[in-house]
Amino acid sequence: MTGLKQTALFRSLLAAVTLWLIAGCSADLIEETASNPLETKQVTADWIAVKQSATDSTLERGQRMFQMCAGCHGLAEGEFSPGGPSLYGVAGRNVGSIDGFPYTQAMANKPEVWSVEHMNTFIAAPQSVYPGTSMAYTGLNNPEDRAALIAFIASKSPL
């Protein structure tokens, strides 16, 4: 990656994080359920902020990153999802909450919400966040890659 592209990516990441902070998101939010309408609204606002601030280069990188997920997960509505739950509508959804999907106990009906922050933490080390998850993916170490991936998911989400 060129230095110019790196700078652009950092700027977009910074913009997203800034918007997220301005929106008043708290780290505690990830421990809450989506049953509180105000908190749900906040989580959704975070995703919208990421979606709106994503640059073309970020989305291009995020799309490349998503190819690692696409082997198991569908992203579009109704798309075949051969090895994991569909990620359509994941933004703001409760963890392990798709009706009827055979989650392992490690991820079924968890109290957390897929906020931007929680998704970022999870993608970095899925098996540390939910030990025993059937997700074999070991984690995306590069924070820029994670930011781009989350931006791409946001861009495809019905927000």
Binding site: M68, P85, G100, P102, Y103, Q105, T133, S134, A136, G139
Partner: protein, 489 residues
Amino acid sequence: MNNQDSKPPITRRSVLMAAAAVSAGTALQSCAPPGDQPIAKQTPKSHDLDFDVIVIGGGFAGVTAARELGVEGKRVLLLEARPRLGGRTFTGNFQGKKVEFGGSAVHWIQPHVFAEMQRYGKGFEEVPLVDLDATNVMLSSGEIKRISPSEFGEAYDSARIAFCAGSKELFPRPYSPFFKPGVLELSNVSAADHMESLGLNELQKATLNAELTLYGGAPPDEFSYTSFLKIYALAAWDYYVFSDSEKRYKISDGGTLGLCQAILDHSGAEVRLGKVVAKVHQDQNAIRVETTDGQTVSAKAAVITVPTKVYDDIDFTPGLSNEKREFIANAEMCDGACLFVRFKQNLGNTFSFCDDPNPFTAIQTEYFDDDFGTIVKVTLGRQSLIDLNDHDAVSAVMKRLFPKAEIEAISSYNWATDPFSRQAWPSYRVGWFSKYKEMAKPEGRLFFAGGATADGWHAYIDGAVESGIRAGREVRQALAEESASTGAS
């Protein structure tokens, strides 16, 4: 839950579970057998347990065992930890193409899987492989030799022929691998030991060492020499058949998942996905299996089909035999993974071997044309040499091999780090091939299957199917003997 009814109650949750599984295309809940081949009517239970048999694991060994018992009228429950079937096979998507992220090789010389393909009407899909346009060998130093396919073939074939020269004498009956005492005498010889004795040239050594790294999922000095020789013997002691059996053909008509699902559909077994087995308890009368969600189910017998390294995650009471525990702790080491890369350009039909310790052990073209570009499948014998999730690291190695090509997309599946496999294909460490039968021995009401227990193609789908057939037979016999002794129907 400790359900004492013969059938679990139909609940909203169970209906949703089944619906979701079908929508994911992975679950196979089907009480209706395919076509006009009805399963035998399930015999009324002669006991108060939930099922006759519980099968743990939904790979080829598990579904085959379930089918072998289901068609005989046994009430079978299959528990699978993942949200999909297939075990260490996985038919997935990459760039709009159906790809196999796990085991995929099939051949008509592999009798068990070929019979299943015939039974369920599955054909062969050929990957390019033949008529190669370009071949590369990356030496252990990292230097790349761009050689013609004929040079490549000459080095690779002659090296394997030399390495496997004793296979016919040692394995005249490969399904009875210890028929000749000489095999056991070579138990402590590693693949590297034998290779060093052959006086191979640079290219021969690099291609053969890569091949052995791939089979071992470890450096060849850790890998059993004779276990590789047995596979070669199974391929009719012929290098050409051997190559075809390991690389050239996949299952068409739905891939590995299609065949796996067909076998399970035929079984009539009840399937529960997402169920991680935590405890297996047996007593004089029953098996009780507890999953991590706290549910318990009971049966007369259980068939365990999980990969060898996963046994440690299950609490068996009473404990497994010392022989099994030693095998589980020491026998297998396969550090393998799979990677797909799409290039924008048409690179043609290529094959590359990268000698250990380069991470991308074998690279084989899967699709290529001018409009689509190229997809290559990379099989790694040692995934721990690279972070497969680091695109920059993957791209750097690919750039060295294909300097003019631009990467469009990358996707991988890491079997060694998957908590429900913990290893890729079965492979035996030096000194442990001679003990594989310990893992197959029944213990009370517990029966054992899985590729590592196969007499034949242990590193292949065929070995898993073979083991499922054998375990099914053992359970049928045991339950019949028990019924006869107790007078139960």
